[in-house]
């Protein structure tokens, strides 16, 4: 690991980035709350909110957590995690969507997940 003084020059640049990111995060927070007052239809509201959150989250990850300049191994681990994260989020709900993809010719009886079996 190089000494701390070598990094001093880099750090000044980084600090400027941190302040910029902070301001961006504040703005985006106000934006997302403001949009929520519009009471958009659910699907649109979810999409917009998640989009803004993803941008905010990416800023935190890339700049505060230095992910933008991380090593390949870390990227590999996180990519793997992301793949399984998506599977975990998507598959259970898809499993209970009736006739997903394939047209059901026989109506499943009272099978909405809320009531359970």
């Amino acid at each position: 690991m190089t000494t701390t003084t070598d990094h001093a020059v880099d750090i000044d640049k980084h600090v400027r980035i941190y302040i910029t990111v902070f301001v961006a995060l504040m703005v985006l927070t106000i934006v997302t709350v403001a949009i929520s007052y519009l009471h958009l239809p659910v699907h649109l509201a979810v999409t917009v909110a998640l989009l803004v959150a993803t941008v905010k989250g990416s800023l935190v990850a890339c700049y505060f957590m230095h992910l933008i300049s991380e090593k390949k191994l870390i990227y590999a681990v996180l990519l793997l995690t992301l793949a399984f994260f998506i599977a975990l989020l998507a598959l259970p709900t898809l499993t209970h969507s009736n006739g997903f993809w394939i047209h059901e010719t026989v109506q499943p009886a009272a099978s909405s997940p809320g009531t359970g079996h």
Partner: protein
């Protein structure tokens, strides 16, 4: 000669340095991976024995339903076995805890915590794990989890009794033992997560110079992939356990549907929950968990086969790629445990497809191991016998999994004894045989002594025969339609009548299997003090752990070794010996 004197001197110096650490820091709260590994191994073996004992009790009830168990029956008291006859609730406790203990307190701690901890740093030429203190924390978290699980037998209502799968809503209305189960699981999951972080970091960072990834012993690859499975698959179960705890203790309805009736009364909860959510989160872990059970075993078998055929493993590269692919696929097959829950046809097709695909890497690995035998100079010592026994047993286990993974054939087989036969073949004469093999194989490294071969062979032959006697009949019972978890083994159903005698066969197989473990237990402890003394490399093996003294001192190597070649350079043409160790210049 002088090299040995140097090693002896270094060992002496290391030993002296250790004198200043008290007994507690050296043997109980040690941060040395070898001590921790042995702690895990012994605790794991004890839990395996205990879990086995629970099953032997169950098998009495299955063979002779509602008959008093002589002697032992009355000792268990009126809340469990009044007059020596088992209560259904107690049968369910035994069933749930047998599964839980074998999987989470027995096999994984032994395979990963025990063998992984002891062998991996030595095999990669490391002085210890990357995070020794975290390692110690892992063990004691596991230990606490074990204590909580054992203690649960003594709370009012007894231990968890809703299956090792703790399906809801039953588990939510169950007695307080279930709460203990959930808390115990949180400790165990924490232990595994911390351990996984340690293994991955250690294998990647602390490996010796020259030890590139494709020069790893297959055992190291197996532990690396296993660690990733533990790291990423366990947290959802932890989240689910918290939610089930909330449902049980805080009155939430994560898993409770609206209008649920218990004994004619509607449950007074908010409702609107989803019982299948539990199943998804549970199986998201539990499927990768079964690969956690098998991968280290495959690793052990691979090491022992290479060593005892005196030739390199056939298809090492394919085996490694298969291992990695298997690990990845294991995360997207889980709902094949849920084919009967009413899922849409598309998702059923998806999970059926991924399940069929995942059988391919398993077959590749098994085939490569079998082909590795071809043309070898096979030494039939005890580790090798168990390793060889593993192959057809895992084969049967794997093949019988296929109809379960196809949703059409799963319909008649789901939740029957067929399933029990399938998974026990993989875990019992599968993984546990590999673990036995590993004990016999690495015992000399840990103790500087060999275990007795005759007792080992008796252990093997008896266990091999009895395992098949116990589990083969279960396929017959299952195909006849006898459900698992029936406290009378199917006796209440007329259709099961012609097949019930198989229960008796299985039970006697289990009890005799227990007798054949006695030579092993005796051998294990007797050999620690009286076993034949051996040098550093009694098996004439090629991997780095055999360059360390037996047993290795704190820090393992006087001089950090370097890897100069692949892990299985046996019978190299032109070489002086029939093995060229990885660590030799």
């Amino acid at each position: 000669m002088s090299e040995q004197a140097t090693v002896a001197h270094k060992r002496h110096v290391a030993h002296e340095a250790h004198e200043t650490i008290g007994f507690w820091r050296k043997y109980v709260f040690s941060t040395d991976h070898k001590v921790i590994g042995i702690q895990y191994a012994i605790t794991g073996l004890l839990f395996l024995l205990f879990g086995f004992s629970l099953m032997m009790l169950m098998r009495w009830q299955l063979a002779y339903p509602e008959t008093a168990l002589p002697l032992l029956g009355r000792l268990l008291g009126d809340t469990r076995m009044p007059g020596g006859t088992m209560l259904p609730e107690f049968y369910n406790e035994l069933g749930a805890m047998h599964g839980t203990i074998m999987v989470f307190l027995g096999v994984v701690p032994l395979a990963v915590g025990g063998f992984g901890n002891f062998v991996v740093p030595l095999q990669i030429g490391a002085p210890d794990m990357a995070f020794p203190k975290l390692n110690m924390l892992s063990y004691w978290s596991f230990y606490l989890g074990g204590v909580v699980m054992l203690a649960s037998f003594f709370v009012p209502g007894g231990a968890a009794q809703s299956g090792w799968t703790s399906y809801v809503p039953l588990a939510i209305i169950a007695s307080s033992g279930q709460t203990w189960w959930l808390i115990g699981m949180i400790f165990l999951i924490t232990s595994s997560l911390l351990g996984a972080i340690n293994f991955i970091t250690t294998i990647i960072q602390i490996r010796a110079k020259g030890l590139s990834f494709m020069r790893f012993p297959f055992f190291v690859w197996a532990q690396l992939v296993t660690a990733f499975l533990l790291l990423l698959a366990f947290p959802p179960l932890e989240a689910a356990a918290v939610m089930q705890l909330m449902d049980r203790v805080a009155g939430t309805s994560f898993f409770l549907p609206t209008g649920l009736m218990i004994s004619g009364q509607t449950l007074q909860v908010a409702g609107s929950g989803n019982p299948l959510l539990w199943q998804h989160l549970f199986w998201f872990l539990a499927h990768p968990e079964v690969y956690v059970l098998i991968l280290p075993a495959m690793g052990i078998v691979a090491e022992i086969i290479a060593n005892n055929t005196r030739k390199p493993l056939w298809g090492y590269r394919s085996m490694v790629y298969s291992l990695v692919f298997l690990g990845f696929m294991s995360f997207i097959v889980w709902a094949h445990h849920m084919f009967m829950t009413g899922m849409g046809t598309a998702m059923a097709a998806f999970f059926q497809t991924t399940t069929m695909i995942i059988s391919i890497p398993s077959v590749v690995i098994l085939t490569a191991l079998v082909i590795s035998l071809w043309g070898g100079s096979i030494r039939f010592n005890t580790p090798m016998l168990f390793a060889l026994g593993f192959l057809p047993m895992f084969g049967i286990g794997g093949l019988t999994g296929l109809p379960l993974g196809l949703n059409i054939t799963d319909i008649p087989l789901h939740d029957t004894y067929y399933v029990i036969g399938h998974f026990h073949y993989v875990v019992a004469p599968g993984t546990i045989f590999a673990l036995f093999a590993g004990v016999y194989y690495w015992f000399p490294k840990a103790t500087g002594r060999r275990m007795n071969e005759t007792l080992g062979k008796i252990h093997f032959i008896g266990s091999f025969i009895c395992m098949n006697v116990v589990f083969m009949p279960m396929f017959i019972l299952g195909m006849a339609g006898v459900s698992r978890r029936l406290f009378d083994g199917g006796a209440a159903y007329a259709f099961a009548g012609p097949y019930l005698h198989w229960n008796v066969v299985s039970s006697w197989g289990a009890w005799i299997l227990a007798l054949f473990q006695i030579p092993f237990i005796f051998n294990f402890f007797w050999s620690i003090w009286k076993g034949e003394r051996v040098g550093d490399n009694p098996w004439e093996a090629t991997t780095i752990e055999w360059s360390a003294p037996s047993p290795p001192p704190h820090g393992n190597f006087a001089v950090i070794p370097e890897a100069h070649r692949g892990p299985y350079e046996y019978s190299v043409p032109g070489a002086k010996k029939d093995f060229t160790p990885q660590f030799e210049a």
